[in-house]
Structures are given as C-alpha cells and as structure tokens.
Symmetry: C2
Subunit: 120 residues, 2 copies
C-alpha cells in the first residue's frame, strides 16, 4: 500500500537558525555569479598557463599558441573569455596584439591557490 503523497515542503531543515544566518550573510546573487564566472575562467589548465605566462610579461596570440601547443583560434577564444572576466587586456602594435594581465589580483589568486594545493 502506497500512502497518498503529502503536500509538504521537500526540504528538511535541521538548523533553521543556522540557515537563516547564512541567508542574512549571503552575498548578493550577482556577486556570487560574477565570482563563479571568475573562478570558472581560471579553472582551466590552458587559461591558467596563459595567465601564469603573462605574469612574466606580455605576449602575443601566436606566442601563446606556441606555448600551449594549441591552435591560435582556440587560444583566441580563451583570451576572449579572460578579457570578458577582466583578467587580461591587450594593446595593438601593428598587426600584433599583445596581451597582459589586467591587475595584481590574478597573480595573488594563483599564488594563494598554489599554497593551498601544496599544503594539501
């Protein structure tokens, strides 16, 4: 015999106070989204290699493609993502676009991540 499905909330709440507190202190949704997008952009070996290489100084697209042993088109797509996340920017000199890190946060974030994985 199957009981009639009761129409009550699906989600058990053990510590309502704790949940309420978490809700109060939660970040605004747009910030959470933006942060997730930032971390996601850094969450790819290829893009990380790019960022780490640019920490030493600017490079052009075909340099980066050579470094990553990947196609220039693929690198260009990755760079667009990094640009959209304000992680890198570029300057044009003739036909060549030189990419560089946008600010120090990037380098700091990578350094801190390294610390984490090295101690774990």
């Amino acid at each position: 015999m199957i009981e009639e499905q009761q129409d009550r909330c699906q989600v058990r709440c053990i510590h309502d106070d704790r949940i309420a507190q978490a809700r109060r202190q939660a970040l605004p949704a747009p910030e959470t989204e933006a942060m997730a997008a930032l971390f996601k952009a850094m969450g790819d070996p290829g893009r990380l290699k790019i960022l780490w290489a640019l920490a030493e100084g600017e490079m052009c697209v075909c340099d980066l493609a050579a470094l990553l042993e990947s196609s220039e088109s693929a690198v260009s797509h990755q760079l667009r993502l990094l640009r959209q996340m304000a992680l890198v920017s570029n300057r044009r000199q003739g036909q060549v676009l030189y990419y560089r890190l946008n600010d120090d946060h990037v380098h700091l974030l990578i350094t801190m991540a390294l610390e984490h994985i090295r101690e774990a």
Copy 2:
C-alpha cells in the same frame, strides 16, 4: 591551382625568447592541473554559496540543501567535489554529517575574488 601542402610546423613563433622564458618559468603540469581543478571547483555559484555559508560555521547537508533550495543529492555531489579538492571536510555526529571549511585559504581566495570583481 592549389599548392601542394608544405609539411612545416603549424605554429608561428614571433618571440621565441619570450616563449622559452615562459617555458622555463612554467609550473609543473601536475600543479597546473591541480590548481585548475581547485578553481573549477570554486567556479560554480552553488558551490560558492556553500563555501561562503560554511565560512560562518559548520552546516549539515540538509541545511545546505535548504539554503540552496536544491536537492540533498545534488548538494551531496557538490560536497564530494569540494571534499576531493580539500576545500571542505566533515565530522559525523550521529546520523548527521557537519561540513566545515578546511582552511583559511578558501576564505581568502573568495575575498580576493570579491575585490577583483568589485573594482572591475
């Protein structure tokens, strides 16, 4: 008339010196991979919400499911990922598993990311 395809390297190298330098200073592949996995783990709004909530103190799975308005199964899968990345750990008290942040790096990483997106 289509010319016979020449068999030369696909990848143009404009600044060989710069590429060589980047190669020398590059991180070991396993570290790059581990870092990418770490950032990827943080690159999801749901998981970020979890981490941010846990920064205030430990919570159990069903608390987190209630907070995220998501299924406990989904949250459990996310927590597994965060555990694998050594971002969170848990302690059991009876039937309940309480999750907490593993160390301060996580909080620092999030704080720094916030700075980045707020200034951009």
